[in-house]
Structures are given as structure tokens and as C-alpha cells.
Amino acid sequence: MTFATVPAAVEKYSTAFEAAETRKNSESPAWLNSTRRQAWATFSELGIPTRRRGNELWKYTNLRPLAEAEFSFGEAGSVSLDALKSNGPWDDSWDTIVVVDGVYSDSLSNLHGTSGLVAGSLASAISSGSGEVERLLSSLAGREEYAFTALNTAFIDDGAYVQIAEDSSLDSPVQVVFVTSGPGHDGDSSRATYPRLLVDAGENSSLTLIETYINLSGSAQLTVPVVEIFAGRGSVVRHHRVQMENEQSFHIGTTRVNQLADSTFSSTTFAVGASIGRNDIHTQLAEPGAECTLRGLYMTGGQQHQDQEISTTHAKPHCSSHQYYKGILSGRSRAVFSGKVVVERDAQKSIADQKDLNLLLSRGAEIDAKPSLEIYADDVKAAHGATAGHVDRNTLFYLQSRGIDEDAAKAMLVRGFAEEMLDDFKPKALRDFVERVTDYRIKILLDESDTIGTA
């Protein structure tokens, strides 16, 4: 069923697309030019998805504020290393790629020539025809008719490229920092950026990947990242996603993962930022024996909106998938958990579970949790569930009876709720960072809280 509606907000992006196209076309390989043009055609047809009725993907997230906002598309700005270090996780020993406003920064990146690792600018990987960039880029996130992957793809220029050689096990994490420097070229408008990351993990390789989004501006920006991860046979990819946009900004992120036989992909998201934040992740268990674990913590306050769109497709037998998310909501914020697992007819002996637990700290906060399983095979073990609860008064009394005052006791309980997700962030500097942000956020969320400790 189609509706004859005009796609929203397309014209706002068209001047920028045309300008970028003229600028890039002469430099880019023909295949990329055609990918971009195709993507633009798709986006022009779809527009920003403001229609929610009958649109499962956007049922609970209202994108009208985004469609109405104006963005500029200036040259990349500049940021200081100190600003990066104090606003995000950082460890000098990590291989770190820094992308400022969508453009790779050689001076801010910190790469150690680690053996087995190719890491750096996506633009250079494209122009040098490095690895399998041409075959891989946009092969996962280009197929589907999805407005934001199309929008990002229409603007593909630079970003980050990470490739791990076969049989290589990296001891230390690779971090990719996407930073928005500040307003666009005219100094006060909002900037739109399209970060792009391509990860190619070779057969039997092992990698810890940290993907960080920082926003150093104080005003509304738009970030539309697309990440494609190819997990080769027997590879192990541990992925961490830290989303820390400011509270005026829009962050509409898409991650697409393809897993070959016996690969393991685990991902934990830490989403605390943005006015409207979306974390759309899909894992394709494309060959037998693949396993994915998708987890995350989202914390919202004020008027924030966080949307977790989590999906896994079991295409082949003997794969397992685990989705487990936790939310802490306060103020008048809203969060969406939409978890979906599709087990195709071929995928016998699949194991799938989904869970979403929420802690509501205020009456005004709202969660829409919608775990769903679509199973077409008959030999499958699956379970799902979602809950929303409040801080328990018994528990609060227990802590207070030991001498811990009410405020500290509440903070301890909320932090305790988050703890198992924080435990996923193993690299020390990363763990310290998310812990610090969590404690800071909990204080703010508790200030907006009105549902606990009351009879």
C-alpha cells in the first residue's frame, strides 16, 4: 500500500547534495559516483520518515522536529586534542581514528602501525582501492530502502576504514571518534554530518572496536552515521558504541553487521545524548555457527527521546542471538525499544532471546517496549520479555537502614541497575569514562525524578 504524499524535507538536502556531487565527482571512482546517485534517488523518494501510522520502523518516534530543522553543510571545522580527551574515552595506547565533521583528521588520529591492522581514512581507502572497499562499501547498508542509510550514502566522501588481517588478534582496542566540531560555515546554523565507518574483520581475527560520538557544539546538530561491519569466518568482534551528542541534537545511527560462519559479534551501546537519538542495529547471521550479543544502556531525561531499533536475522542453522537492553528514564523523556528477531525457514537449531528492562524515575517518562520474534523454522529455542518498573521502596529502606541517606541510596540503586551493562565496557579508560558519565547523568535524572521514596 502506498500513499501519495510528498517526501518530507528532501529539498533541504538537495542543494547540498548537488554541491557535493559537483565537487566530488571528478575525484571519485565511477562506482562510488553511481552509488551516491542511486542513494540520492532513494532518499528523494522517501524523504525524512515523518509519517508514523502504518510505518513500523518509526511508529513511536516523531521525526517532525528533525524534518523542520534547517541544516548547513559547511567545510569541516577544527577541534583540539584536549577537547577530545576530556569529552570522550581516550587511551594513548589505543589505535584511534578521529573523524571531524565526517572528515578524517590525520593530526588528531593516533595510530601506531599495529601489525595486522589497516586503519585510517575511508577516502584514502577508496582512492587507493585498498582491500575490498569497492565490494564491501554500501553492500550491507545500501540494499534496503531506508531513508537515513540512503541519505548518508548519498553524501559518502570520507570517514573511517578499519581492516583486520586474517588470523590477527589485536591486543589493544581500535577507537573511532566521530566528532561534531560546532555550527556550520555561517557560524550559527546547525550542521549535518554523515559519518561513515567500514570494518572488515578477516577470517579468525579478533578486534575490540570502540565507536564514539562526541558533539562539541552547544547547538542542534544532525549526525547520520552508517557503520558496516563484516565479521569474517571465526572472527571475534567486540563492539562498543558511545553516543554523547548534546541535548539539542539529532542522532540517527545505523549499524549493519554481516556475520560469516562461527563468528562472534558482541555489541554494547551506551546512549545518553541527543534530543532524538536512534540506534538502529541489524545483524545478519549469514552462515552456520554465528553468534551475536547485542546489549545496551540508554538513559534519558528532560525531553529526550531515545529509540533502540534492534534486529537480527537468523538465515542459517545453529546460530544464536541475544538482545538485552536496559533503560533509565526520567523527566518527560521517552524511549523506544523495538527488538526483532527473524528466524528463517532454513535456520533450524536457532537460539534467540530478547529482553528489555526499564527503570522509570518519573511519572512523565514513557517507554514503548516491543520485543518480537518472527519464527519460520520449527526447531528453535526462543524467549522474550520486557518490563518497566520503579525503584523499589523496600530496597531503598534496606540501604537507608544501613546509614546511607536517601539521595545516595537512590543513586546507588539506579547505578546498580546500570552496572551489568557498564561491566561490558572492559577497556579500562572506556569503563572509567562511561562510569563517570553514568554517575553524572544519574544525578541529573534523579533531580527530575518524582516516583521514588513516595508512598
Partner: protein, 254 residues
């Protein structure tokens, strides 16, 4: 130490829900009092009201600690004054580790009293020592507080907290229920070793068995929210033999 005067309490927001119906009790320094009574007679309610649980409303009478009324103090301030409650049903607290929790409790009390905080090193030493003393599997205390603990393990964990916090007035609400013989001995040894001229205990129990190990100075029989009889350790033996029928108000059944 503690003086309870004509204490009446009901459940907040429930009409005509009076549970404690005029309790008088005086616990001197260094004494051990046992409270026995049928199920539902108000023992846990008394323990919780003493500790300041907000689900209950004190509708009459007073609670004095060292001569000062505490009925308007929040639970944490009662803890800072030296009170402790070992819960009949300890809460499970996901993501909060016992070590961290107890350190926070000690620090909060030190802050409130203007005392110096224990160093992490000294605390760790004390913690490990006490974990061993109460016989908790050290792996268990690395996990979330009480989460997935067995009934007995939870009770041992209450004992761990009691021994680390060293309160001056400890209320034990059926800490002996659900314990195996060894654990029971550990509870008794814990209490006996902590007995001192400055420390008092109120021990709620159903079983005379515990009182073989911990010899109480005074035994009270609580029935339908009132103390019906007060006596020495022999009272516990009587209850063991005859039940509570002798203490029921005229015309009532327990």
C-alpha cells in the same frame, strides 16, 4: 538505651490497620531481649517501626534512644545513632556489591558522626576477616548484594553486616530462621562475641533453640500487637511446650 512507650503504629494509607497496639519495652545497656510471638503478631512491624520504615505510621506513643525521641528521624539517622536491623527478608540489590555497599555505609556513618573514614586497605582487611568469620563463600560477596543468595546465605550476609557495622543496638528479626545448625552456631557466636556492657540486642525468634546458644536477659511474648508477658529465659521454654494459648487475650484465638 532504648525505651518504647505505649507505641502504636498502623500501615500508612490503610484505615483501621493498627498493628502495634500500645507497646511498652525498656532495653538497658548490655541487655539481650528476646521477642517471641505467633505469626502475624507484629514482631517484624515493631522491628521495622524501630528502624523507621515509612510504610508504617506511628499513631501514638514514643521511641526514645538514649533518652531522645527518634520517631521523626529517617532510617539513616537512626543507623548513625547506632541502630541496626537484621531483616527477616533481606532485599536483593542488583548491581550493588556487598563490599562497596558496606564501605559506603561505614563512610556515611563516619561522615555523620564527624569521624575519620576507614582506609580502603583497613576496610578490605576487616571485610575479608568477617566474610570468613560468618562463613560466606567469598565468591558470593563479589556478586550483587543478596541477589540469587539462598535464604541461609542472606541471613549470613545480615550477620556480616552486623559484625562490620558494630551497632550499639542490634535488632535481629528471625535471623535464625532457615539456618542450618552450623549457621545457627555462627549467628550465636557472632552475637555472643559482640555482647558487651555498651551494646544491646533485641532478638526476634520463633525458636527456643537459638536461646540455648544466646542466653537472653529478658523474654517478651508479643500477641496481637501487645506484649502479653515479660519474663526470664524460662518463658521461652514454656512457649516451646505450650504454645501461645496461655497468652491470648480473653476470648481470642491466635
Amino acid at each position: 538505651m532504648l525505651e518504647i512507650k505505649n507505641l502504636q503504629a498502623s500501615v500508612v494509607d490503610i484505615e483501621d490497620s493498627e498493628i502495634l497496639r500500645g507497646i511498652d519495652l525498656r532495653v538497658n545497656k548490655g541487655e539481650v531481649h528476646a521477642i517471641m510471638g505467633p505469626n502475624g503478631s507484629g514482631k517484624s512491624t515493631l522491628a521495622n517501626v524501630l528502624m523507621g520504615r515509612l510504610d508504617y505510621e506511628v499513631t501514638g506513643g514514643d521511641i526514645l534512644l538514649e533518652g531522645k525521641s527518634i520517631v521523626d528521624l529517617p532510617p539513616e539517622q537512626r543507623a548513625h545513632l547506632g541502630m541496626f536491623l537484621a531483616f527477616q527478608y533481606p532485599a536483593e540489590i542488583p548491581g550493588v556489591r556487598p563490599w562497596q555497599f558496606l564501605k559506603a555505609a561505614l563512610d556515611a556513618r563516619a561522615d555523620a558522626r564527624g569521624e575519620e573514614k576507614m582506609t580502603v586497605r583497613n576496610f578490605s582487611k576487616l571485610f575479608d576477616e568477617k566474610v570468613e568469620a560468618v562463613g560466606i563463600n567469598p565468591q558470593l560477596v563479589k556478586r550483587s548484594l543478596n541477589e540469587g543468595f539462598s535464604g541461609g546465605e542472606k541471613k549470613r550476609n545480615e550477620m556480616l553486616q552486623l559484625e562490620i557495622l558494630q551497632p550499639s543496638l542490634a535488632i535481629l528479626d528471625e535471623t535464625d530462621s532457615g539456618l542450618d545448625v552450623d549457621a545457627l552456631r555462627i549467628v550465636a557466636e557472632g552475637v555472643n562475641s559482640m555482647r558487651s556492657p555498651d551494646r544491646s540486642f533485641i532478638i526476634v525468634t520463633h525458636y527456643q533453640r537459638l536461646l540455648n546458644y544466646i542466653r537472653p536477659d529478658v523474654v517478651h511474648i508479643l500477641v496481637q500487637g501487645k506484649i502479653m508477658k515479660t519474663g526470664g529465659p524460662e518463658l521461652a521454654l514454656e512457649v516451646e511446650k505450650d504454645g501461645y494459648r496461655n497468652y491470648l487475650p480473653a476470648g481470642a484465638t491466635a
